[in-house]
Amino acid sequence: MRPRTLVLAVLAGGGVAALMWTGFAPITSPSRDELFEIPKGTWARRMSGDKVDILPNRIRLTLGLRDTLVLRNLDDVPQIFGPTLMMPGQSFRLPFEKASEYQFACTAHASGQMTIVVEPNPATPWAKIRWRVRGLIHNIG
C-alpha cells in the first residue's frame, strides 16, 4: 500500500471511529444545572446606562442531562430575573421533567418573553451527534 493511500485509510478509519463514538457513546453531564448569575454591580451598571444582558431570549435544556434552570442574584438589590423577582443573594432552581417549549413573561427582555426549550434526552445516534455538535459549537462560540 502506498504511503498516501495508507494516510487516507487511517484518516477515513479515524473519521468513522469518531462518528461511531459521537453517535453511540453514552452522553453524561457533570451537572444538570444551567446556571445564570446576576453579578454584583449589575444594577449600578444599568443605572449608568450600560446594556447588560444576562439571560438569553431562548434557553435550550435537555432532559436528563441539563434540565434544571438555576438563577442566582449576586447583586445588592432585588432584580427581576427571568420569570421572577429575586432578592439579593437568592437563588432559584427550576427543574423540568417534560420536553416542551415553555414561555415566561420576562420584563428584562425587549420581547417581554423568555422561552425555554426543553428537548428530549438524545437517545438515537443522530440525536446524540446533533447534541454533541451543538455543544461543541456552543463551547467554541
Binding site: 420569570p83 421572577t84 429575586m86 432578592m87 443573594g89 421533567e97
Partner: protein, 193 residues
Amino acid sequence: MSCRALTALITSLLLTASAAANDAPALKAGVFSPARQAPDFSLQGSDGRELKLSRYRGKVVVVGFGFTSCPDVCPTTLATLAAARRELGAAAADVQVVYVTVDYERDVPERMKKYLSAFDTTFVGGSGSAAQLAAVRKDYGISAEKKQYGDSYTYAHSSFTYLIDRGGRIRALMPYGHSPDDYAHDLAILLKE
C-alpha cells in the same frame, strides 16, 4: 464550653441541617433559596372581608395573579388548583388559594366571588384600586400589560403561581402548565412541614 467544643457543636449542627436539606423531597416547582417572607397586602376579599395574606398564616397558600375575563391561562390554572385540592382530600383544608386580579376595572369582589366559586368555593379573590394592585404586583415581581382590542381589552400577565409555606415564606414558583398531580405533590410536601 471551650472554643473547640463550640466549633465542633456548630459544625455538627450545620452538617445535620445540610443533611436534612439534602434529604428534603424535591418539589416539582422552582424553589427559592433562601425562601423570603411573602410580602403582606391588604385588598378587598371576594368573601367580603379584608384580604390579608397574614390571615392565612399556618396554612399553605397558593397565590396567583390573573383576571376573570382571561380566556385561557386563568381558567386552566384555577381548574388545575381545584383538581389538586380534590386530590389532597381532607388535607386540602389547610391549603388556601388566593387569586389577585390584575384587572381593577372589571374585577370587583362580587364578580371575583362568582367566578372563583365556579372552580372551588374556598378560593378567595383579591380586588383593589389600580395603585393597590400595582403595589402588590411589584412586591411579587408580577407583570401585567393591558392590551386594547377594539372596545374591549385583555391582559398579558405572569402565569405562574407562588407556593407559600405555613410560616408565610415564598418557597416555590410553579410555572403555568403543571398538572394537578404536580401541585398535589408539592402541596403535600409543604403541608407535612
